[in-house]
């Protein structure tokens, strides 16, 4: 709140001194569309005199839907123009206010059904949730959902604000009924503290100070509770964790590791273990711009210098040697899906967590949680705003802790590898195949030795293109030429594989991904065995082709785009499939009612409208020689 208008310069200095000791509380507000969330935040800003005259003037212009005499508090908070027109808040907005003892960052998140995603986003950085209930309506489905998501995201403190008490005559009975309804289901969610407060955001009752309308309520006002709540997440007492964010190397004489302490504390002289290598060293200095520190705590951004020349890079975690975290390449996690395109199990996404970015696939979707009833249901995919419990497998081991212990080491986002959109967010529950020291089974006869014996570098020639484009024809001609040159080869043909290995799979998106994964896995084994593998697969999605590419080593995967226009393929129609697809007898047919994503950076493109199949095959073999894959 602002000081009086006649404050003197000396008092300003005292005021500033006092301000320096303030702490920070991040909280989020959630409720249904009409619970009056935006009005409540507007009220907190308005009553703590943080609205300026020009902002109030802008409100009057913007209003039109407010009550006479009362500023339209909600319109101050609802940010974007399009949202103002729709009359709802649809994204996460951040608001700021401060009192004598605390600065507050409020994440205002929507209560609309479709926006679980936004609430989870706001909750991820919040320590407390204010859950609003309309006193006239009581506990609703949305109330349950918001409480569940808050608990899932690790929020331990809840304020249940029963709003619009003015519209139910400020009655205690109504309030008590709602509170007992709420406790009936919220107890299972494991919150550390639930405070219940009857308020009227519109009239200001119990928002800043005690209401005269409800003498039966003797607890704190909303603001009093926000100021008083102790949210220390035990992170200071937890073991020391420090994910390395940036290697600080100004010159040859200095090598430091910059990052933010996520839990515990550290002093010079402490022994630390470096994950995932499990090497150890000792902290020599804690460097900051303001001088070296004797001790650093959770939350501080520092630079550590170690006593030994050890190999440390971004994504490594420095931890106290008494209790280092574990590493794993498989874990079970809750996953919130955040994108219109559903989750595809077995599709490769990028997982980002604590400065580590690793390819990851969901290997098993155990169940989907009905956020309204908390029931667990079977499912094959996750749609936007759905929450599932699943196993994930990573390309390499990461350092982690269960989300409940450390948010920063257990909370991750999933990123689509083509669009780069953030498509999901997850919270690790526990590691599978945990390891405190990971050892690979060493095999003596390896790919390199086989390669020498075979006089060829094994690789996959991945032919992609529309049905009828000439993939199989060209692949077959290439194989004949390679065979004549005494190379060891094998052809995996899409149609043939579907008769055997993949005969249990259909043509849905999920099945297509699995189809590709199996073929890529088999090709990868064959490459390991030393063969040149020719794969002839429509493989219409970039993501799936990239999945296959990622399963192989650098330079072992050549994407060959057999570029034949749809009209030409359809005119050829060697198997009569286009005719059937056009007639509607085949669904999800690539090029007709299912897309083909053209390769952006194919290793080889053959245009069959200008090249004969023989010439195309010659071209492919020439490229193999060029790249020294064959002698």
């Amino acid at each position: 709140m602002r000081p009086p208008a006649d404050i003197q310069p000396q008092e300003v200095l005292d005021y500033l001194k006092a301000q320096e000791a303030k702490t920070l509380l991040r909280f989020l507000t959630c409720g249904s569309v009409d619970d009056g969330k935006s009005t409540l935040i507007g009220r907190l800003l308005y009553d703590s005199k943080l609205l300026f005259e020009d902002q109030l003037a802008a409100l009057d212009v913007a209003a039109g839907n407010g009550q006479a005499g009362v500023p339209d508090l909600a319109s101050l908070v609802d940010g974007l123009q399009a949202e103002q027109e729709q009359g709802i808040t649809i994204d996460v907005a951040y608001r700021f206010f401060a009192t004598e003892t605390r600065k507050f960052i409020v994440a205002d998140t929507p209560g609309h059904e479709q926006y679980t995603r936004n609430m989870a986003t706001g909750a991820s950085t919040a320590d407390l949730a204010v859950i609003l209930i309309d006193a006239r309506k009581g506990v609703l489905t949305q109330t349950r959902r918001h409480s569940y998501i808050a608990s899932l995201l690790g929020i331990r403190h809840v304020i249940l604000a029963v709003n619009k008490m003015d519209l139910v005559g400020y009655g205690q009975d109504r309030f008590d009924d709602i509170v007992s309804d709420y406790f009936a289901f919220a107890q299972a969610l494991g919150f550390a503290e639930i405070t219940t407060i009857p308020v009227s955001a519109l009239k200001g009752d119990n928002v800043i100070s005690a209401s005269t309308q409800m003498p039966w309520y003797s607890g704190p006002s909303l603001l009093e509770q926000l100021e008083a709540v102790d949210v220390a997440r035990d992170v200071q007492d937890a073991p020391f964790r420090f994910p390395v964010q940036w290697v600080n190397r100004p010159d040859l004489d200095f090598r430091g590791y910059s990052g933010t302490v996520t839990s515990g504390s550290v002093r010079p002289g402490d022994e630390v273990t470096i994950l995932p290598s499990f090497k150890t060293s000792r902290v020599e200095r804690i460097v900051t711009f303001d001088g070296d520190l004797d001790e650093a705590f959770a939350g501080q951004a520092i630079t550590l210098v170690l006593a030994d020349q050890v190999d440390v890079s971004r994504g490594d975690v420095l931890a106290c040697s008494d209790a280092p975290p574990e590493i794993t390449d498989q874990f079970a996690a809750h996953l919130i899906w955040m994108h219109d395109e559903p989750l595809l199990p077995e599709r490769s996404y990028l997982l980002k967590m604590a400065n580590q970015t690793v390819p990851a696939v969901v290997t098993e979707l155990k169940h989907v949680v009905n956020v309204n009833t908390m029931e667990q249901l079977a499912a094959k995919t996750l749609e936007l705003n759905e929450i599932g419990f699943c196993n994930l497998a990573l390309d390499r081991a990461v350092t982690y802790e269960p989300y409940k212990q450390t948010r920063e080491l257990g909370g991750f986002v999933l990123i689509d590898r083509i669009t780069n959109q953030t498509v999901g967010a997850g919270m690790i529950e526990f590691g599978l195949r945990r390891a405190t020291n990971l050892v690979w089974q060493e095999l003596y006869i390896d790919k390199a030795r086989r390669s020498v014996m075979n006089k060829q570098r094994p690789c996959v020639l991945w032919f992609t293109g529309l049905s009828g484009s000439g993939k199989s024809t060209i692949a077959s001609l290439v194989e004949r030429r390679l065979h004549a040159l005494t190379h060891r080869t094998y052809i995996l043909d899409g149609d043939n594989v579907r008769h055997g290995l993949n005969k249990d799979l259909g043509f849905t998106d999920v099945d297509r991904v699995e189809n590709i994964r199996r073929v890529a896995e088999v090709s990868s084994l064959m490459v390991d065995a030393g063969l040149i593998v020719l794969v002839s697969f429509i493989s219409p999605f970039r993501n799936e082709r990239r999945l296959a590419r990622d399963m192989l080593g650098e330079g072992e995967f050549l994407e060959i785009f057999v570029d034949t226009p749809l009209e030409v393929c359809e005119a050829r129609d060697p198997k009569g499939l286009y005719e059937k697809a056009r007639a509607g007898d085949i669904k999800n047919f690539t090029g007709i009612d299912s897309p083909y994503e053209v390769p952006e950076q194919a290793d080889i493109t053959v245009d069959t409208t200008t090249l004969s199949p023989e010439a195309a095959a010659e071209h492919v073999v020439a490229v193999l020689k060029d790249r020294k894959l064959i002698e």
Binding site: R2, P4, A5, I7, Q8, P9, V12, L13, Y15, L16, E20, K22, T23, L24, E53, D54, V61, A62, G79, L80, Q81, A82, Q84, D91, A93, Y94, R95, F96, R102, K103, I105, N118, A120, T121, S124, T125, Q245, W246, N248, R249, P250, F254, G256, S258, T260, T288, F289, D290, F297, G299, Q300, A301, T303, K352, M353, A354, N355, G411, V413, N420
Partner: protein
């Protein structure tokens, strides 16, 4: 437990290091004002003992206060940093200015378009800006790592969810990210931090006798002789200062006697208007900032 300023400082440093670690070619937009001063100070802290691993970029509209340019050059010299200055060459050629073309055209050509030119020319894939969420409504919803299309457009309806501090920095070629390390700071936080850390700021923030004319209720400083005076208009010398700095013809002064930081903070604490009110460009149209931001304005 950290104080609120320590917590904000640590968050900003984390954000800057993340960009340094993940962006191919980052740059820091330096607008010379108090927020830029704080952002630059934080950058010096974030990478110490290294220098910030990116250059500063100033988009010069040619209409900045002369004192701003002098302060800019001093600052860069004092800290030993690389500064790139970009002026829109077509705009310069056409003589675009706020008096001849109005604030909307001037801002678009000399600021928004100029910024895009500079980013494209150097191929920067991440650009730090000093914007704060408390400044203005549409900023309150913008992410800390804010994605821009190849055409530099911001799509407020299609922002990436941003959880914890697991920032998604991935982009395809030609796309870029604007990064706002001061997102969670308020105007008061900025002033408190400047006070606490003793950060140098442009003298224009302090009250002094300056020549001004009053137009439409706004005091405009006559910073150079390019300012056309209307018939009978005579600049008067008044004790004024600025709460926010931009192009001098577009920045209103306030009457003030505050010559020290505590006095400035005192004025701010009891003020009845928000800081952007002194900016002419925000008032052009309803939701004008959101439109400008979508088009690539910072």
């Amino acid at each position: 437990m950290l104080t609120h300023l320590q917590a904000l400082e640590a968050e900003s440093i984390h954000i800057m290091r993340e960009v340094a670690a993940e962006a191919r070619k980052p740059v820091m937009l330096y607008s010379i004002g108090k927020d830029s001063a704080v952002m630059l100070h934080l950058a010096m802290k974030a990478f110490y003992p290294s220098k910030p691993p990116f250059p500063l970029l100033h988009v010069d509209t040619t209409w900045k206060f002369a004192e701003m340019i002098a302060f800019r050059d001093q600052t860069v010299k004092r800290l030993g940093l690389d500064l790139l200055v970009h002026i829109n060459p077509q705009g310069l050629e056409q003589g675009i200015g706020p008096f001849s073309h109005g604030s909307a055209v001037h801002t678009d050509i000399m600021k928004t378009q100029a910024l895009k030119q500079a980013l494209d020319e150097h191929g920067f894939d991440a650009a730090f800006g000093g914007a704060r969420r408390d400044e203005e409504k549409s900023r309150a919803k913008e992410r800390i790592f804010s994605f821009r299309s190849k055409a530099h457009r911001w799509d407020p309806k299609n922002q990436r969810p941003e959880l914890w501090n697991a920032y998604n920095t991935r982009i395809n070629r030609g796309e870029s990210i604007r990064v706002f390390p001061l997102s969670n700071w308020t105007e008061l936080d900025i002033w408190q931090y400047i006070h606490l850390e003793n950060i140098p700021i442009v003298p224009l923030y302090f009250a002094a006798e300056r020549p001004v004319v009053t137009r439409g209720g706004t005091m405009i400083m006559v910073d150079d002789d390019r300012m056309p005076l209307e018939p009978g208009e005579v600049p008067e010398t008044r004790m004024v200062r600025f709460r926010t700095l931009g192009c001098y013809p577009l920045t209103g002064a306030i009457a003030s006697t505050a010559t020290s930081l505590p006095e400035i903070i005192q004025e701010m604490l009891v003020a009845n208007t928000s800081e952007r009110e002194g900016r002419v460009i925000d008032h052009d149209q309803a939701a004008s900032m959101e439109k400008k931001k979508q088009e690539g304005y910072f």
